[in-house]
């Protein structure tokens, strides 16, 4: 997982205590404003909780594309190779000439390879989703509140204690309904 909510903010040098500041927002727009304000203020990328999949939030956070694409590609390639290996291998291992047709008939084998490409690609995609999210996850993510699966957006920034007041102000200015602070 990316280093979200990194332990230090701007000017967070020295031995100062880490603090976690969470802003609760009623709308996606305010949440995006808060992320932009924090990034402009020099804070590290915050952790964001959202009840909806928001492309805008992901763009604002400048997250790279999910590596699941690669999993699906590899799964699909494995499926195609397995499909041809299974069909051609079976024909060679147990030769059974029917109607004088060639031992290896590629056109029908394409169907098996295609189906296995989809199957392996889908399984790899879901496998990747579980792996990269560390699912099933027993412990709760830091800063999570049940409100964030309902109707509120949460922006959580971890910074040095001397920066926390500034972080609180930035979150409030962006329209946070509530701002909570706790020791990280």
């Amino acid at each position: 997982m990316a280093a979200v909510g990194a332990a230090q903010g701007v000017g967070g040098g020295g031995m100062s205590e880490s603090v976690q500041v969470t802003g609760v927002f009623a709308s996606e727009e305010e949440c995006i404003h808060a992320i932009q304000a924090l990034r402009r203020g020099g804070f590290h990328r915050p952790r964001v909780f959202a009840p909806i999949p928001s492309e805008k939030i992901l763009e604002t956070l400048e997250l790279p594309k999910s590596p699941i694409r690669l999993c699906v590609l590899l799964g699909g390639i494995t499926g195609v190779i397995s499909g041809f290996a299974l069909t051609i291998g079976t024909a060679w291992t147990w030769p059974h000439v029917a109607g004088g047709k060639p031992m290896v008939s590629l056109p029908p084998y394409i169907i098996i390879a295609f189906e296995l490409m989809i199957l392996f690609g889908a399984l790899a995609g879901v496998g990747g989703f579980l792996f990269f999210n560390r699912f099933p996850r027993l412990e709760s993510l830091r800063g999570y509140s049940p409100r964030f699966s309902d109707d509120r957006f949460g922006v959580l920034v971890t910074c040095a204690s001397e920066q926390s007041t500034r972080a609180e102000l930035l979150l409030k200015d962006a329209g946070a309904e509530e701002v909570e602070r706790e020791t990280a």
């Binding site: 594309k65 098996i112 999210n133 699966s149």
Partner: protein
């Protein structure tokens, strides 16, 4: 389109209300379906014990009701994938309120379909001969056979449908978890896998969901094409046709959308989801039914034209028998249900009248079941050798197992509707932004 836009909280409240403990009427309904399933299971047990002689299967009709049911249920599944995956890729907004129901229908329909190749086997304990495993008995599956393609296609479709349904459920189940107590909270906690909607989780979710939709789209086309090749690859008149793959795919979406209508109209009323599943959503579904009905009608005409133009005596005889022979009346009922009655959907009044629409969807369900029966049993009844001709009559066993398959499907579907979110809260919330913009535009235009 809805006049008033609900907020996130309201969407959650309305969907969570469907997950409250159901009343006595619901359990009587589920219990009755269960009894029909038990009766079907007993009939199947008797069939396994005594052999396929207890069915109406006789030469030359060795494929009939069971294979009709198989094709029917696989076909039903297709609309779910159309709505959930293909319309997702096209960013179609109206799908958000109905896709979960359609997707659930898909998963349970494929599950039901998958039973019929087993039920159709005389010696079901040898079902594994269909599977490709190394063996020393020279009985390896022939990969040139459409039946083996079918085993691969349908099992892949079942797996991908369940994965797709499950993926979409995760964020909604997390919402249900956060709003539940007791055993439900424990259950939803397990199903949600620890989902908390962080930006990392959404990033991987969006990637995986989009790619699954991309994989499901060609899959859905391939599956019913493969099912159609079970017939089209054979030499039998009435089956051996190049039009079968697109014809079957269109028919599958037609029948599936009709069954979505059959289910969604009572569900939205019983679960009081009228504000979320609006007449606009139903209207869009009805338009798909109308459009695919026209494609199916065109396919019937093309199929007949090809027979007339080719002037092959065997094909001509088969089609003459299909129109005017022993099963002729079933063919004309099918035409009525699939081609004539759906034309009423050109009328917006019909599309907005829920009772009429529900009855119309039942006609389409009947018509599409008959289409498969007419193709399968009707073509087998009159093959190349007139001395072999014979007509299929279903036995009590087949009728019971067919009824039980409908009960099995409805029982699973009914259980799902009250224990897992049947409407996607996440996607409805996501669609609100678009809905607000659309309403703003509409009011600006009005001003």
């Amino acid at each position: 389109m809805a006049a008033a836009v609900p907020d996130y909280r309201e969407i959650d409240r309305q969907v969570m209300r469907t997950l409250e403990w159901p009343g006595r009427a619901y359990w009587i309904w589920v219990g009755s379906l269960f009894l029909i399933v038990v009766w079907g299971a007993l009939c199947w047990t008797r069939q396994i014990w005594l052999g396929l002689g207890v069915t109406g299967l006789r030469q030359p009709n060795m494929w009939a009701v069971y294979i009709t049911n198989f094709v029917f249920w696989v076909g039903i599944a297709h609309s779910g994938t159309l709505i959930s995956a293909i319309l997702y890729l096209f960013r179609s907004r109206w799908r958000t309120a109905v896709y979960r129901l359609a997707e659930t229908m898909t998963a349970f329909a494929v599950l039901t379909a998958g039973l019929f190749p087993l039920i159709h086997l005389g010696r079901v304990w040898f079902f594994y001969w269909l599977l490709p495993y190394p063996n020393q008995r020279w009985l390896q599956p022939d990969f040139r056979s459409p039946l083996v393609w079918d085993a691969f296609a349908v099992s892949t479709y079942l797996t991908v449908s369940i994965l797709f349904l499950f993926m979409g459920l995760i964020p909604d189940v997390a919402t249900a978890r956060d709003e539940s107590t007791g055993w439900r909270r424990v259950f939803y906690n397990i199903v949600a896998l620890g989902w908390q909607g962080s930006e990392e989780q959404w990033r991987h979710f969006a990637g995986a969901y989009l790619l699954l939709a991309g994989l499901a789209t060609p899959l859905v086309i391939s599956v019913h094409s493969v099912v159609s090749w079970d017939f089209a690859m054979a030499q039998l008149p009435g089956w051996h046709s190049t039009i079968f793959a697109p014809y079957f795919v269109a028919g599958a979406i037609f029948s599936g959308c009709a069954l979505v209508l059959t289910l969604i109209i009572p569900v939205r009323r019983m679960l009081e989801l009228e504000e979320l599943i609006t007449p606009w959503h139903i209207d869009n579904l009805a338009r798909i039914v109308l459009f695919t009905s026209l494609i199916v009608t065109y396919s019937y005409i093309t199929e007949s034209f090809m027979v007339w133009y080719a002037k092959d005596p065997f094909e001509t005889t088969t089609f003459h028998m299909r129109y005017f022979g022993h099963y002729g009346y079933l063919f004309w009922i099918m035409v009525l249900c699939n081609c004539i009655i759906p034309l009423a959907l050109f009328s917006p009044r019909v599309r907005h009248n829920m009772k009429v629409l529900w009855v119309l969807s039942l006609f389409v369900n009947v018509g599409m079941w008959l289409e498969r029966f007419v193709i399968i049993a009707g073509s087998l009844a009159s093959n190349f050798v007139p001395s072999q001709w014979g007509f299929f009559v279903p036995s009590v066993t087949e009728i019971s197992i067919t009824a039980a398959s409908f009960a099995w499907f409805l029982m699973l579907f009914s259980l799902f509707t009250r224990f897992l979110p049947i409407v996607s809260m996440t996607e409805l919330k996501e669609g609100l932004r678009w809905l607000r913009l659309a309403l703003r535009k509409e009011s600006a235009e009005a001003a």
